[in-house]
Amino acid sequence: MVFNTDHKVIGVQYLVTTFIFYMIGGILAMIVRAELAQPGMQYLTRAAYNQAFTMHATLMIFLWVIPVFAGFANFIVPLQIGAEDMAFPRLNAFSYWLLLFGGLLMMSSFLVSAPGTGWTAYPPLSLLDSPGETVWAMSLFVIGFSSIFSAINFLVTIAQMRAPGMTWFRIPLFSWAIVATAIIQVLATPVIAAAMILLIFSRVTGAQYFVAIAGGNPLMWQHLFWFYSHPAVYVMVLPAMGIVSDVLPVFSRKPIFGYKAIAFSSLAICFLGFTVWAHHMFASGMNPTLTIPYMITSMIIAVPTGIKVFSWLATLWRGKLRFTTSMLFATGFVSLFVIGGLSGIFLASVPVDLHVTDTYFVVAHLHYVLFGGSVTAVYAGLYYWFPKITGRMLDERMGKVHFLLHFVGFNLAFLPMHQIGLEGMPRRVADYDPQFGALNLVVTVGAYLLAVSTLPLIVHALVSMKRGVLAGDNPWRAKTLEWKTSSPPSLFNWDEAHHPLVTEGPYDYGHKPAAKPVAAETEVARV
């Protein structure tokens, strides 16, 4: 059972593992916010504070948001395209075990004093930091390979393993998003792996790649790092957009508005994402004139993003919206992500960025994108696919409590950060000017509310797994293929009664009168 190659088991392994890392990262965030609740140093030394936020960011990015989508994709993508498993089941299992090993390696850096250089690990600081920095770099190298292997697996699976009739334009948008995501992972992750090797060599053997007086260049690290880490933002956001594009039509009882536009905008973001990395470096040592092309490409990314947002809104228009918890989180995603997108335009503008970069404005922006965006979509996906994964429904009332706490806590925690940053508080500081005290207290209260919001989820997910209402094959009356098999699906997904043969698009709602109760069996019989 443990060393399993079934994509569904591996998917669940990913989801559970990453959720545990999410909790650890969350506890670190609570520690950071406790220290920042009021001016002055209360609980931590400055060095420990730096370690706390560095590990918070690293765990949340590399061991939660990126791999949690790999978890969903593992479970859902083969089902959505009508495959029996992933193309390379053993490689798939290997990816998971690499991730777990890398994660444990990452945690072991606490044993030798965790890194305190921020997740960006700019040299020379990262060359002189505690021994945990080397462990940190090695574990990211391992996790990177997990990411590359699973991306190759998804690309081959989606290209080669589709069921009869599953043409490219009948692929559900979540799987489309995984295609775009996997392309980014395959092309960008080797670059961060190379950067980590250079960092490890510099630390262990005293190599001078990043030391200016020895002929190296500290800017080279920044370029290598961001060449991966900006596209990585899209690795974290594209699958979230895919989940929302799958959830909205089901609960609107309408086709997705502009299917091809959404699919192609994912590819456009995937391509453009490789051309914008230096917008993290507008105030750095790079030639200021070179910032202009990066500003233009960064702003252009707003266009495909806008296409998606407007298409989602148009999907709701004249629908029959059913506000299940999943739908609440999906619409919540649209609401919060737009804020992160808009603040991103400010950061893309070079002159404005010179003021706001490296401040709490950036902290607010990235949390609106990665928490308000990605994590909110993770919740939407969890409430949506939990019945398929476990065969039982999550409790809707508890889910709504969860949504309310999440939405209120999130905005309380991150909205004031915009103003804190504009007024002059830099990021990554253990202490700050007393003038920022009031707003920081509000932020801390919101952050703790956000932590509390996960409790109803954990409790009712555990209870529902055992005692939830039986879901049946297709509790949401959805049209995508994963709902046309049993819940949970059998070992090779499709038994005699559920044979995947695709004759229509993934979101063909409303074409025929659907007033009569439709059970999953009759649905399949019609197919």
Partner: protein, 391 residues
């Protein structure tokens, strides 16, 4: 929903009357948008047009323009009432604020447009209980999709052009600029005015209305020189020289902040910049140049050297008001070490690495190794005497 698959979600029937009232209100707005622009009949008698009639595009366009304009107005008003930025104290700051406020107006309008639309759609098209029908099979609309591709593209293109113009404006070299060399080092800013031959630490004094050319570098980590009231920052990189141009306009004292994580004491790396009139600046420079250093009292002289040469950036020494967290704590150093050891540790800091530093074990190569060259013999003696006096 079949009996065997009970719906997990049943809409509550309680409190429907309020929802119905809201729904009716929204239905009336919807009906208003479908009426012809000039009603042939008195409005009072006009029955709501049947569902599915074509929307009056012109009427909706007028409506959209009015709402969008209103939203931009609200955004602008908000900025005026609640300034999000600290006082603008430089020509560049005013230019960047103008750009920022313009972007904020547009962003606020888009924000409100999306959120209000989302809320409207969520209420207007919510499923009524008992309705298990699907919505209309609308797959897309080419005209609409072109509109929401072209308009955002036009907006970001405009913003890019405006940003470029502001960028050129804030990067333009001024004439007769005052050059200031800025050196960041762990947890301290050092300033040198090469033409005036004046040095200061953490406290910067500049004349108003004269272009200033900052030349930035770092002795150790990457630092970032940020004056929030100027809206400008630039990284100070080891082994490189970067530059920044600014013309201060408002007399006053403003913070200097390090904005790039540079180690355990990153948040303590703060200074201040005082903008004064040109005459005050000249007077200050003269005073600095002619200020004789009082070397008669070796303790006071040593203390001033301790501060001037940046020891306080890394070491804690209560007598000199130093709170550095990087190197060994020097309180009471005179009772632990003799004069030779102190002298040796300043000139050749790697010879003995103390075990315990405030944030962990001490590390070699952190302390600059050139104090033997920088300090004169007399200065070195005064510094050693001062430190040895700390019992």
């Amino acid at each position: 929903m079949s009996e065997s698959h009970p719906s997990p979600v049943q809409q509550s029937t309680a409190g429907t009357s309020r929802r119905r009232a809201l729904g009716n209100f929204l239905d009336r707005i919807d009906a208003w948008g479908r009426e012809p622009l000039i009603s042939p009949r008195p409005v009072r008698q006009a029955a709501p047009p049947p569902q599915g009639s074509r929307p009056n595009v012109f009427r909706w366009a007028v409506f959209a323009v009015v709402v969008f304009g209103l939203l931009i107005g609200i955004g602008a008003l908000f900025t005026l009432i609640n300034p999000l930025m600290p006082l603008a104290a430089a020509r560049e700051a005013t230019a960047i604020d103008t750009l920022f406020n313009f972007m904020l107006g547009i962003a606020a309008a888009i924000f409100l447009l999306v959120q209000i639309t989302l809320l409207y759609l969520a209420i207007r098209y919510r499923r009524r209980s008992g309705d298990n029908e699907d919505g209309d099979p609308i797959e897309g609309n080419n005209a609409l999709e072109i509109v929401w591709t072209v308009i955002p593209a036009a907006i970001v293109l405009t913003l890019a052009i405006l940003s470029y113009r502001t960028f050129v404006n804030v990067r333009t070299a001024g004439r007769e600029a005052l050059v200031i060399e800025v050196t960041g080092r762990q947890f301290q800013w050092q300033f040198y005015y090469p033409e005036e031959d004046v040095r200061t630490v953490d406290v910067l004094r500049v004349p108003a209305n004269r272009p200033i050319n900052f030349r930035l570098t770092s002795q150790d980590m990457v630092h970032s020189f940020w004056v929030p009231n100027f809206r400008l920052k630039r990284d100070a990189m080891p082994g490189m020289i970067t530059d920044m141009w600014v013309t201060a306009t408002a007399v006053g004292k403003y913070p200097i902040v390090c904005a790039e994580l540079c180690g355990a004491g990153h948040d303590t790396m703060r200074g201040s910049i005082e903008v004064v009139s040109r005459t005050d600046f000249s007077a200050w420079v003269e005073a600095e140049k002619t200020k004789a250093v009082d070397t008669s009292d070796p303790i006071a002289y040593g203390r001033s050297l301790f501060v001037k040469h940046g020891c306080s950036g890394c070491h804690t020494l209560t007598d000199a008001k130093a709170v550095g967290q990087i190197g060994p704590n020097l309180d009471g150093i005179g009772s632990r070490a003799d004069r030779d050891f102190i002298h040796h540790s300043i000139v050749n800091p790697n010879a003995v690495i103390t075990e315990k530093c405030p944030t962990g074990p001490c590390q070699a190569n952190l302390m600059p190794q050139n104090f033997g060259q920088i300090l004169t013999e007399a200065e070195l003696n005064a510094l050693v005497t001062y430190l040895y006096s700390q019992k």
